[in-house]
Amino acid sequence: MGDKKTKRKKKPFNHVLEVQNGFIDVRDLIRYIDKNLPKRLEELKNGKAS
C-alpha cells in the first residue's frame, strides 16, 4: 500500500490596506460656491442652465 499524499489547497494571502480618512473643509466648499456662483447665476438668467 503506497503513501497517500493529500494535497492541501493553499489559502490565498489577505492584504490589509492602510486607508487615509478624508476631510472636507467647509471653507473650501464655500470658496468653490463663491467662485462658481456668478457664472451659474448668469447661466440661469440667460436660460442656458439645465
Partner: protein, 122 residues
C-alpha cells in the same frame, strides 16, 4: 462673530457619499467612474456599507465606510487609492488614498473602516 452650520447641512453631503454601491481599490487616482471600476481597478466590492452620519472626531460630522474584508484581487498592482462610486448615473463620488501596497491577483484584500469628515465652519 462665530459661524454656525446645522448638522443636517453637513449630513446632506455625507449621505450622498453613502449612496455609493461600489468600492474599489485602484492603482492610480481615478478621475472618472470608468477609471475607478475598470481602468485602474485592482479589486472591487459591490456591497459597501456605511455607518452614520455621526459627530466628527474634532467637530462637524462624519460618515464611516465600514470594513470590506477579503475582497478578491482581480489584477496585480500597487494599491494607492480607494474609490467610492454610484452605478446609477455612473458617478465617482469620493477618492481617498492608502499606503502603497503591492497586491497579487487571486489573493484577497481587506479595506479597513475609514471616515469622510466635514468640519464645522471656522
Amino acid at each position: 462673530m462665530a459661524k454656525l452650520v446645522d448638522d443636517t447641512v453637513l449630513d446632506g453631503a455625507l449621505n450622498v457619499i453613502a449612496t455609493a454601491d461600489r468600492i474599489s481599490v485602484c492603482s492610480t487616482q481615478p478621475t472618472t467612474y470608468t477609471e475607478a471600476i475598470t481602468t485602474y481597478k485592482l479589486a472591487i466590492s459591490l456591497t459597501p456599507t456605511f455607518t452614520g452620519p455621526a459627530n466628527g472626531d474634532t467637530n462637524g460630522r462624519k460618515i464611516t465606510v465600514d470594513q470590506e474584508a477579503t475582497i478578491t484581487v482581480d489584477t496585480s498592482g500597487n494599491a494607492e487609492h480607494v474609490a467610492l462610486c454610484k452605478s446609477t448615473g455612473t458617478v465617482l463620488l469620493y477618492v481617498t488614498t492608502c499606503t502603497l501596497q503591492a497586491l497579487v491577483a487571486a489573493n484577497t484584500v481587506t479595506i479597513p473602516a475609514w471616515d469622510v469628515e466635514i468640519s464645522d465652519p471656522a
